[in-house]
């Protein structure tokens, strides 16, 4: 297997060109703060950003990219007047379809709403559905809890969200991780995202590189509460 480790966030995002389509992971938790900050420093513009989480833009640093005009198109689940919005379940299923070689699928969600206008409606077994199409990307930026050097990933709790799915939907996936272990040390039965979907993995440094000094963890509180045995 190939070693996917790179040393810095800046190196990891250095290849992202102007005009790229970039998926940015997380929702509530599971947001790749360090990679977003590195992408900000890197300077790429005219980006198409696909992020479920962009409702909380001010908190994710995607907002910084946007306010500087670096985002040409934002595809996100929540509309804000400028973007039409996508039902969240439809959005995540579209990303899943992108990584599953499914170009389009039908969903019941949104029928009878403004978001259904102009969409293909079709009945199956007496119920009406909308046609929705897949989303893919050139790059995905995601965090993980633990990686091995081959890029096999594990997520902790709701850090998972859309992240393993984006890894499958993007051509190249760049991962920031809290812990790194040697290749082969993770239990094969309990890997959330195989390394074949990962291009590069970077360990988050002890002093986070967070944009504008943003702390990775909330100061003064433990970063972990253990609510069950982990694995065996």
């Amino acid at each position: 297997m190939i070693n996917k480790v790179v040393q810095t966030m800046d190196e990891a995002v250095s290849g992202i060109p102007d005009g790229a389509t970039v998926m940015i992971g997380g929702f509530g938790s599971g947001i790749p703060y360090n990679l977003i900050a590195a992408l900000h420093r890197q300077g790429a513009k005219e980006l198409t950003v696909i992020a479920v989480n962009a409702t909380t833009m001010n908190r994710t640093d995607i907002g910084f990219l946007e306010r500087e005009g670096r985002i040409k198109t934002l595809i996100s689940q929540a509309g804000d007047g400028r973007y039409p919005g996508i039902p969240q379940g439809t959005m995540v299923e579209r990303i899943r379809a992108g990584g599953a070689g499914v170009p389009a699928f039908y969903t019941p969600t949104g029928v009878g709403t403004l978001l259904a206008e102009g969409k293909e409606h079709r009945d199956f077994n007496g119920r009406t559905y909308l046609l929705e199409t897949a989303l893919t990307a050139d790059y995905a930026l995601i965090p993980a809890w633990r990686a091995d050097t081959f890029g096999n990933l594990q997520f902790e709790y709701t850090q998972r969200t859309i992240n393993p799915t984006m890894a499958r939907a993007a051509n190249q996936t760049i991962v920031e991780v809290e812990e790194m272990v040697e290749g082969g040390e993770l239990d094969p039965s309990f890997i959330h995202c195989p390394g074949v979907f990962v291009s590069q993995v970077v360990k988050i440094p002890p002093e986070p590189e967070g944009f504008h000094g943003r702390p990775l963890n909330i100061a003064g509180v433990p970063t972990r509460s253990r609510l069950g045995t982990r694995g065996v």
Binding site: E93, I95, L115, P222, S225
Partner: protein, 236 residues
């Protein structure tokens, strides 16, 4: 809109407590943003109701205290939460697969408007600009029951129980029951049926704060706040 200011309505907490009483053992319930997200704080695990958060939690517990925070454990609103014993984490896609396939016994969410034809609106306050409401459309379209939890009138004093919604719909024709600070409402033929009423209020007084038709249920009863607090307290 006469006696409104003078009479006590249900407190927000009491609306939640009343909603919890409708949950049955074994139910899987999604809690929406705002008021409903606090329901897990009040509902004891002994009720055997499993709470779902659409970011991928099956078995959501109460909000975390500052000492309990784990940055990798939140609900869909990024509020730090705990899990109940037996909880499991699924990914975001799987979480909405669960929703779309009709596994939710109920979804509980707020609304700007609920209409007597069971339509409701909570995605946008602008009549001309729609929105997705996050996962609200998914939950509303696909859950077995749609429970709306809200104050009876808007902060501007406007009625929210309407004949027809004038804001962009979240989903047409799906609301099962509405819990407000004035009562509990089911639906009849293009009307609301008030099943329970806030203590001290009359149906006509509720009608005055509503636009949609309100019919009194034959077995209309007053909400017993004392019993409500006791029922929930016994959970703990």
């Amino acid at each position: 809109m006469t006696t409104e200011a003078e009479k006590p309505k249900l407190a927000r907490e009491e609306i939640l407590l009343r909603t919890i009483l409708d949950f049955q053992e074994g139910w899987l319930v999604n809690l929406g943003s705002g008021l409903p997200s606090y329901i897990a704080n009040y509902c004891s695990p002994e009720r055997n109701v499993v709470f779902h958060a659409e970011n991928g939690v099956v078995g959501m517990g109460r909000m975390a205290t500052r000492e309990e925070v784990n940055i990798n454990l939140t609900n869909a609103l990024a509020q730090h939460i705990l899990l109940v014993p037996g909880a499991s984490i699924i990914d975001h896609v799987d979480s909405f697969a669960l929703v779309r396939s009709g596994r939710l016994s109920a979804t509980v969410m707020g609304a700007y408007h609920v209409a007597s034809n069971r339509d409701f609106a909570n995605v946008s306050r602008d009549p001309n600009v729609g929105g997705s409401g996050g996962g609200a459309m998914d939950m509303a379209r696909n859950a077995q029951r749609v429970f709306i939890v809200m104050e009876h009138v808007s902060s501007e004093g406007q009625p929210k129980l309407l004949k027809r919604c004038t804001l962009p719909l979240t989903c047409p024709g799906v609301v099962t029951r509405v819990f407000t600070d004035l009562g509990v409402f089911d639906f009849g033929e293009d009307c609301f049926v008030i099943k329970e009423i806030a203590p001290g209020w009359t149906v006509d007084e509720v009608r005055a704060l509503s636009e949609g038709d309100i019919v009194a249920a034959p077995d209309l009863k007053e909400i017993d706040l004392k019993a409500l607090h006791e029922a929930i307290a016994s959970d703990g």
